[in-house]
């Protein structure tokens, strides 16, 4: 396990050097994208930004406009499993190198991480202020018609911390914990 500093956009070799259990500190651009964004891309609309080498953050932040500037008031991760039907496609078609979320993802995404060179990064769910503290600026927003929590927010982050829980080598902490906990609970069944 290591602490690795990442700067977006990220190249494939760097991503493939990461392993489950590593902690990363990300600096650079993050794009938020959750349910409605993934659904819209899946149904054929091209994303409004170049996602090559970038990270998509599964997050619906609390944003408030102060004067002309958007200010991020809270921005923790949302549950990623809802993007399981779509995420592999975005990895394949648009070259993202990672997603940040919570709760982990399934087999399709794990296979896409391996095939296209990407990782799943786990932020701490509910920790909206710790996450927001590393968001230094809001540089823009697209697809506001989806509503503020569902829009694509362009965030500039410094040392955004997350844990690699699915890597490009086919390893998934979520898969391991599920299987292990299932065996333990089965053994304790009433």
């Amino acid at each position: 396990m290591a602490l690795v500093k990442l700067t977006t956009p990220i190249d494939e070799a760097t991503i493939r050097s990461l392993h489950v259990g590593d902690t990363v500190a990300i600096t650079g651009r993050l794009y938020t994208g959750r349910d409605a964004v993934h659904h819209r891309i899946h149904t054929g609309t091209r994303p409004p930004v170049d996602l090559k080498g970038q990270i998509i953050y599964h997050c619906g932040p609390v944003m408030v406009k102060e004067g002309d500037q958007w200010v991020c008031k809270a921005a923790g991760p949302t549950t990623s499993s809802r993007e399981e039907p779509y995420q592999w496609e975005v990895m394949r078609d648009y070259g993202i190198r990672g997603v940040i979320g919570k709760g982990g993802m399934g087999e399709k995404t794990l296979a896409a991480c391996r095939e296209h060179g990407a990782v799943y990064l786990h932020a701490i769910g509910g920790a909206a202020q710790v996450c927001a503290a590393s968001i230094k600026r809001v540089d823009g927003v697209d697809w506001m018609d989806l509503g503020s929590p569902e829009a694509i927010w362009h965030l500039w982050v410094e040392d955004f911390m997350a844990i690699v829980t699915m890597d490009a080598h086919g390893q998934s902490l979520h898969k391991n914990v599920f299987e292990d906990s299932k065996a333990r609970l089965d053994a304790m069944k009433a």
């Binding site: 921005a75 949302t78 982990g104 701490i124 509503g147 503020s148 609970l185």
Partner: protein, 304 residues
């Protein structure tokens, strides 16, 4: 005669109510109740230092402090807005609902609440947290002379992990305490880290599908360290927590010893044909607060 006249004269909440409800929303969204803070911080000593579980609980602890000190939402998902209100007979509940809804609009504008009310067909966000089903009000009358309002903000991540089982179930067992226990632990297994554990469960045994879920959520209004007055349920509560914490799921599903902080179980009568176990999964960001109000709408005491 005078008694009749008294019930006809409706008591209207005065303008202090708006400010009281706005402050209740701010406190609920930004300051975790003491009993929850104690449980979360106490859990850390059980985890191996430097483990992912330890890191997660440390970040959670920092987040609780940051949100409180900066008066900002603990979690960006400020959730379903659930008001549980007790009022004396004759109190104008319609006026309360209107004023509290205005306070919700104001709290959204101030950023204490996220814009969280979306049309289920068009996907359009109303932008102010109002609309069909939002906010939610549960009104009850009581014989006390004052008003009590409790507010719970329950995020979508944990709400999605709620589960309802109908017993008997081929894998989980029959209509007895064993079947109930296995159903609850299956919910914990399926939730893994997706409900932002360590979690707190509200459970209802019995009822119909609707009242069962409603009552499971109301169990979450109990204090974390209380004891269930029903010894059978009290024992079931501790057994569930003990087994869940031996499952190895851990905080955020990272692995570890803290999977549940508590389990609160109630029961309702059921039809002979039905046996439901309804489970409301609450995340560690267990936002519930309350207040008692006088007839002018001013806070006389903060609860939790």
């Amino acid at each position: 005669m005078s008694a009749t006249a008294q019930t006809i004269d409706r008591i209207s909440p005065e303008t202090n109510l708006f400010e009281s409800i706005l402050e209740l929303i701010r406190r609920t969204s930004t300051i975790l109740p003491d009993d929850v803070v104690r449980a979360v911080t106490g859990a850390r000593k059980n985890e191996v230092e430097g483990s992912n579980a330890d890191v997660a609980l440390n970040v959670i602890g920092c987040n609780i402090g940051l949100a409180r000190d900066s008066s900002l939402p603990l979690c960006q998902d400020t959730g379903t807005i659930l008001f549980y209100v007790h009022t004396p007979a004759g109190y104008d509940q319609l006026a309360f609902e209107e004023i509290a809804t205005e306070a919700v609009r104001a709290a959204t504008k101030k950023g204490f609440l996220r814009q969280n009310s979306v049309d289920s067909i068009t996907g359009k966000n109303t932008g102010d947290n109002t609309g069909p089903g939002s906010p939610v009000f549960h009104f009850h009358q009581w014989r006390e002379p004052h008003v009590e309002v409790k507010l719970m903000l329950k995020g979508g991540g944990c709400e999605n992990m709620n589960a309802q089982y109908s017993l008997p179930h081929p894998d989980l067992g029959g209509r007895d305490l064993k079947g109930v226990e296995n159903a609850i632990l299956d919910c914990v297994l399926q939730a893994q880290g997706q409900g932002c554990g360590p979690g707190i469960l509200g459970v209802c045994i019995g009822g119909d599908r609707g009242t069962g879920y409603g009552s499971a959520k109301e169990q979450l209004l109990r204090m974390l360290d209380d004891t269930n007055p029903d010894p059978v349920l009290a024992e079931l509560e501790s057994r569930v927590v003990e087994k869940a914490n031996q499952s190895g799921i851990g905080p955020m599903g990272f692995g570890g010893k803290t999977t549940l902080l508590a389990c609160k179980i109630g029961k309702l009568n059921r039809l002979p044909a039905s046996f439901f176990v309804s489970i409301a999964y609450m995340c560690w960001a267990y936002r519930r607060r309350g207040a008692t109000l006088d007839m002018s709408g001013s806070v006389t005491e903060w609860l939790y």
